[in-house]
């Protein structure tokens, strides 16, 4: 089956003549919920992964890829993503262009051979990349399956008698960050904790407020806002208070309507009634 034959299929054409016209290749009755599309997109590591999947699924010959067929399928998925209003990584779109380019070049009459050398198949580079990626994908899978320290086995160790060691371990910022990265990779499999720098500063203010409340039983709400605070710090501070209330670490109380608010450590709300 030559590529020219497959190209007869009209569905590939609108993609090629997009100029001026909106892309209309996607049948209107194709509806896939955006959430499902998102999962679909997340299931692939990138355009090579998706292409490889399409090739293997359709039992296409990776050494003699029917470009029109593959391009058509690939574009259908990319279009579906677009309809789902999903942000598509640029790599997917670059790949679309690459596919179209290869397809087009295959339609061209072979340029007169400049020398005796074999003419280069426009698909060669793509084929090489797909094969290399597939090889790596399989290797990654095998690495995953290998027995691994901490999972299939653990190191055995004995303690050094504490009385012999007086030096305390040194910890560097790098050690701390490394520990955190390890914690993160663990979190990742449980749930999607959202941790950001922004949150850290809220957390820092939460800690500050708690320390202050430790020293003074209760503090007027307004006193938690220092005069010198910038607007953004004041906002972070306020969010910190709300967060503390939400997590039931502090109480906010008021003796009567319009009376000043007081903040105290979680536990007994401070009695302010006179």
């Amino acid at each position: 089956m030559s590529d020219a034959e497959i190209l007869e299929v009209p569905i590939t054409q609108p993609i090629a003549k997009v100029k001026g016209e909106p892309i209309a290749s996607l049948p209107t009755d194709l509806y896939i919920p955006p959430e499902a599309l998102e999962v679909f997109l997340e299931s692939f590591e990138g355009p090579l992964d998706l292409l490889l999947y399409l090739i293997r699924k359709n039992s296409l010959d990776i050494l003699d890829i029917p470009m029109a067929e593959l391009t058509r399928q690939y574009m259908t998925y990319v279009e579906a993503m677009r309809h789902g209003r999903l942000e598509l990584a640029a790599e997917y779109l670059v790949m679309a262009a690459v596919l179209i380019e290869i397809k087009s070049r295959m339609l061209l009459p072979a340029p007169p051979a400049a020398n005796e050398e074999e003419e280069i198949d426009p698909r060669a580079a793509l084929m090489r990349r797909l094969l290399e990626y597939e090889r790596i994908k399989m290797a990654a899978h095998e690495l995953e399956e290998m027995p691994r320290e901490g999972r299939e086995f653990k190191r055995a160790h004995a303690w050094v008698d504490e009385t012999l060691v007086e030096r305390l371990p040194d910890v560097t910022l790098r050690d701390l960050q490394d520990a955190w990265v390890l914690v993160l990779s663990r979190i990742k499999m449980n749930k999607h904790h959202r941790i950001s720098r922004e949150q850290l500063s809220v957390r820092e203010y939460m800690a500050k407020i708690l320390k202050r409340l430790n020293e003074h039983k209760y503090v007027a709400f307004m006193d938690l806002f220092d005069e010198g605070m910038t607007v953004s710090i004041a906002v972070v501070n306020f969010i910190a208070i709300l967060e503390l209330v939400k997590e039931r670490m502090v109480n906010v109380s008021q003796s009567e309507a319009y009376a000043p608010l007081y903040v105290s450590l979680g536990g007994e709300p401070v009695e302010l009634t006179t």
Binding site: I15, A16, I23, M81, R82, R85, E87, L88, A89, A90, L93, A97, I100, S104, R105, L108, P112, K154, R155, A156, H157, A158, W159, D161, V165, R167, V171, T172, L173, R174, D175, L176, Q177, D178, A179, W180, L182, V183, L184, R186, I187, K188, R194, I195, S196, R197, L200, R203, E204, M206, A207, L210, K211, L213, N214, R248, M249, N251, G266, G267
Partner: protein, 216 residues
């Protein structure tokens, strides 16, 4: 209450391995759980003592410390090891380092929070180690049943790490966020334009090629 010899051997094998791989000393409650309540404390203690005896002549011994059982070197052996590598700096266990990282980045947190994040129980001596070092302190208590203590880092922690505030900690990276992808994932409309541009270019090139090849 006579336990089969084979059962005893297997049990001791398991106890020995468990204590040897643990990051922290192993206590009786843990060992009971290991045998899913199958054996009584008295039986387990007997095995521990037998294990202890079997290690008597070695360079490492099985000892009971405040928080449980662990293997540790005997002083004379430790001297010989130290002689080879005297300046070997001690290291905190992974449990201690990860707990410290969680407290530093997520404070104030309770022990329960730490356990939830790490996915494992946090031995009390892990936190005690950090408190003893003066790096971690109780900031308050969460108003929920059991009133768990809320931990945070101390000023000394900042001093010892030579930073002025928590904001100077290395930036957190959430595995969800992908700083590099941000630049690449333009809104789709913009991307489409890029692709259309590329397609235009390709088209022009093709046309050029066709006309030039026709010309020849």
């Amino acid at each position: 209450m006579n336990v089969d010899e084979e059962v005893s051997r297997e049990a001791k094998k398991l106890i020995e391995a468990t204590i040897l791989v643990a990051e922290e000393p192993i206590n009786m409650a843990y060992l009971k759980k290991l045998f899913t309540g199958q054996f009584e404390q008295k039986q387990i203690l007997e095995w521990l003592q037998e294990l202890q005896a079997s290690w008597q002549e070695r360079g490492v011994e099985l000892v009971e410390v405040a928080s449980g059982w662990r293997f540790q070197t005997k002083a004379d052996v430790q001297d010989k090891i130290n002689a080879v590598n005297p300046e070997k700096p001690p290291k905190y266990s992974r449990a201690v380092m990860e707990t410290l990282a969680i407290i530093a980045y997520r404070q104030p947190v309770t022990r329960g929070d730490i356990e939830e994040i790490r996915g494992v129980a946090v031995a009390s001596n892990v936190i005690r180690t950090l408190e003893a070092r003066g790096w971690v302190e109780v900031l308050g208590y969460r108003e929920v049943p059991g009133k768990p203590a809320l931990y945070g880092t101390t000023k000394q922690f900042l001093d010892d790490l030579n930073i002025n505030g928590l904001s100077e900690l290395p930036p957190l990276m959430d595995l969800q966020d992908n700083p590099n992808e941000v630049a690449l994932t333009l809104p789709l409309e913009e991307n489409t334009d890029i692709v259309l541009d590329i397609i235009d270019t390709v088209d022009t090139t093709i046309n050029d090629t066709i006309s030039s090849s026709k010309a020849t």
